[in-house]
Amino acid sequence: MNLTDQERLHKCVVNDKLEDVVFSQPDKNCESYFESVDVQPVLSVYNLENINDIRNMMNGILAGDGFNETRSECMRITLENIILYEQNSKIETKGSKRIDVPEFIYNF
């Protein structure tokens, strides 16, 4: 059966056993929300060439956080869309904007 992305995501969310706290809410009991920097950010060379580079980069970024189904599904949707662009070889200096999306979303 062909499920939509939304249906698949819903299934993942239902199946995920742990509450995945992605973003914390306010906590009246803590004294400070600041995080300390343990390792200073460093400059890096940026040179993604193809879909495999992107897949490896994404796997590397998310590897330390533990996977659950919802996250895996989000990765899959992301990679599918990247493949579409990869195939179209579309690189734009002026990005296209969807009219059903508020413009400021593209600013973040």
């Binding site: 939509t4 992305d5 939304q6 698949r8 995501l9 819903h10 969310v13 995945d20 992605v22 973003f23 914390s24 809410q25 306010p26 906590d27 004294e31 400070s32 929300y33 600041f34 995080e35 300390s36 920097v37 200073q40 950010p41 400059l43 890096s44 060379v45 940026y46 040179n47 993604l48 980069m57 994404m58 970024i61 998310l62 919802t70 996250r71 599904e73 989000c74 990765m75 949707i77 992301t78 869309n81 990247i82 579409l84 662009y85 579309k90 690189i91 734009e92 200096t93 002026k94 990005g95 296209s96 904007k97 999306v101 508020p102 413009e103 400021f104 979303i105 593209y106 600013n107 973040f108």
Partner: protein
């Protein structure tokens, strides 16, 4: 050593070229494309910077982009996980900007310009590190606490760092979605202004209201700790879902609907503006205090879009939270290009220690010589006279006669403020000038005040200003002896809350630049910073005894500040400006041919 810094693909794209530790050229893409806050890859700005040194991209020693696309992608995916069932559409919506552009920034550069620097590689810095560098390395301090606050970079929304010599160490941070910039933008949106360009309008609206919602905001929307760190209550916001800025609970909290753009601004929105402004000032004060204490210094530098809130900046200074305060004039994302260039020079190339104490020059954009301008005027048949040694006196005379003068001279400013090179000037003492400038020149909501440019040596005659303010990023009260009797509450009651009537009620002897709370956003002018502008103000003082004028940016509403003589002429002809100065050429409106906006290549700009 030459480094090119690039920012963009979010909003306010820009490029900056640095040579041996000094920014040599910089400009925002919007000025070339004429698209306000243009987020497109800044090809034109890059081209301008390279042309200033007659170089190709392959000749520069390093090319640095101000943001790490890999970390931004991580944020998108994690945000999508947060959105759970709603993630599918969000990921697809953001594919265009993320995958076509942000992940492909190196490919865009190669396609447009060929080899990326001598080593053919693109270096990426961190977004907030770029902001921090734009503030610290451009400042006159050898060491300073650094505070950066914005909507969001890759993850960081706020950082505290310490700069010393040629190194910057980031010490503390807050991450998305907990963002003071987003909070302010949420209120900007709710009050009917445009996100990422309308925030300063909200700031201008605040003095009309009372902060009656301050407690509600601090109780329900945001938890702020003593050190200024904070978390948003995400139940009230919607930007995480990519649909809008606020959830239904937000409006329910204030028992209000979102104001539709261009609709009437009623008391409730004035009070919302006042309330969020008070919250923002308080958070910025606490953050500034924490930064100075943590770093053990009285020098503080600011950058990030929230540092454009000059009222909050003024409070930091007024309360003595920092002994010395410096704010990057291009504090928003455009300044990220400047920061990226500095980081490339000091961290990647190991550049020498920088000169300390030097005044930062923000006039970094294109300039046009008399020959070019003369040819433009002749080609189009636009009548003009060429001024000689009496230039300053003639311009001052026009201002003294009550004329509105478009001033186009020197190198274009980098950053959102016009500082005398792409400015519209007018008398600040004329009671009707604020209304005239708003309606007939800027074509904008008239509740917003204009800003004064004043000779530094005379600034204290007019304002309670403790320090110089060369970049118009500090607000200060108008001196009490210049004020007239004015009560905003009474005025609102008597005029049915009609701000268009209230704005014309005289509040001081410099009414055109005095806001309803007697504040002004001041630019102090010195000969060292801008000799031509200084001379005009001096001549004006000799003529009429006043050392200050209204200075508003040379553009109509929705338009970027003018860049070329063509832009300036079109703006001049579309408005009721009386005089245009193009370097040494003087043009009078009554002498000009009839203007046809369509035929003459003028543009119609979307309202901002």
């Amino acid at each position: 050593m030459i480094v090119l810094g690039i920012s963009g693909l979010y909003h306010d794209s820009a490029a900056a070229l640095l040579e041996d530790g000094e920014i040599f050229a910089a400009a925002q893409e919007e000025r070339f494309t004429r698209v306000k806050n243009d987020a497109s890859f800044p090809c034109n700005a890059v081209r301008y910077c390279l042309n200033e040194k007659k170089m190709r991209l392959g000749d520069v020693d390093a090319v640095v982009y101000y943001d790490n696309p890999a970390l931004t992608l991580e944020r998108f995916i994690k945000n999508a996980v947060y959105c759970r069932e709603d993630a599918g559409d969000l990921l697809k919506f953001q594919c265009d900007s993320v995958f076509q552009q942000r992940l492909m920034v190196h490919k865009i550069l190669r396609n447009e310009f060929g080899r990326i620097g001598k080593e053919d590689k693109l270096i990426v810095s961190g977004h907030h590190k770029s902001h921090a560098a734009s503030a610290f390395y451009a400042s006159p301090y050898d060491e300073a606490a650094i505070l950066t606050v914005d909507g969001v970079g890759e993850w960081n929304t706020t950082t505290i760092g310490y700069g010393s010599g040629k190194t910057i160490e980031i010490k503390k941070y807050l991450d998305y979605p907990h963002s003071l910039g987003m909070l302010y933008s949420a209120f900007t949106y709710f009050c009917g202004f445009k996100v990422n360009s309308g925030e300063y309008k909200l700031m201008g609206l605040a003095p009309y209201g009372k902060p009656i919602y301050y407690d509600a905001i601090m109780k329900y929307l945001i938890d702020v700790k003593k050190d200024g760190s904070f978390r948003l209550n995400l139940d009230y916001f919607d930007f995480q879902y990519g649909r809008t800025m606020v959830s239904d609970k937000f409006g329910a909290l204030f028992a209000m609907e979102r104001r539709l753009p261009e609709s009437e601004i009623t008391r409730g929105y004035m009070d919302l503006a006042a309330s969020i402004q008070k919250v923002t000032e308080e958070i910025m004060e606490r953050l500034a205090s924490t930064a100075c204490k943590l770093c053990g210094t009285g020098n503080l530098v600011l950058a990030g879009g929230t540092a454009l809130n000059c009222v909050a900046n003024g409070r930091i200074l007024e309360k003595g939270i920092a002994d010395n305060l410096w704010i990057q004039p291009a504090a928003g994302d455009a300044g990220g290009a400047i920061g990226a260039a500095y980081i490339g020079y000091y961290e990647y190339l190991g550049g020498k220690c920088r000169p300390v104490g030097k005044q930062y020059n923000t006039y970094l954009g294109p300039t046009y010589q008399d020959g070019e301008i003369g040819a433009f005027l002749k080609r189009n048949g636009y009548p003009a006279t060429r001024m000689k040694t009496d230039r300053a006196e003639r311009i001052a005379q026009m201002l003294a006669e009550g004329k509105v003068v478009g001033l186009f001279q020197g190198r274009m400013e980098m950053g959102p403020r016009a500082l005398g090179n792409r400015s519209i000037l007018a008398s600040a003492t004329d009671e009707a000038m604020q209304s005239k400038l708003n309606l007939k020149i800027k074509h904008r909501e008239s509740f917003r005040p204009f800003a004064p440019s004043v000779l530094l040596e005379d600034a204290k005659k007019y304002f309670e200003l403790k320090t110089e303010s060369p970049y118009m990023l500090l607000c200060a009260p108008v001196n009490k002896e210049l004020r007239t009797d004015f009560d905003i509450e009474g005025a609102l009651r008597q005029n049915n809350e009609d701000m268009n009537k209230i704005v014309n009620i005289k509040r001081s002897s410099i009414p055109a630049v005095t806001h309803v709370d007697f504040s002004a956003r001041v630019q102090t002018v010195t000969r060292e910073m801008n000799e031509k502008y200084y001379d005009i103000l001096k001549a004006y003082k000799r003529l009429c005894g006043e050392s200050l004028v209204c200075n508003t940016s040379f553009n109509v509403r929705g338009e970027p500040i003018v860049c070329t003589p063509e832009d300036a002429y079109a703006c001049f002809m579309k408005t009721d400006m009386d005089v245009l100065v193009l370097e040494n050429y003087l043009l009078l409106k009554e002498d000009q041919p009839v203007w046809d906006n369509v035929k003459d290549g003028g543009r119609v700009y979307e309202l901002d």
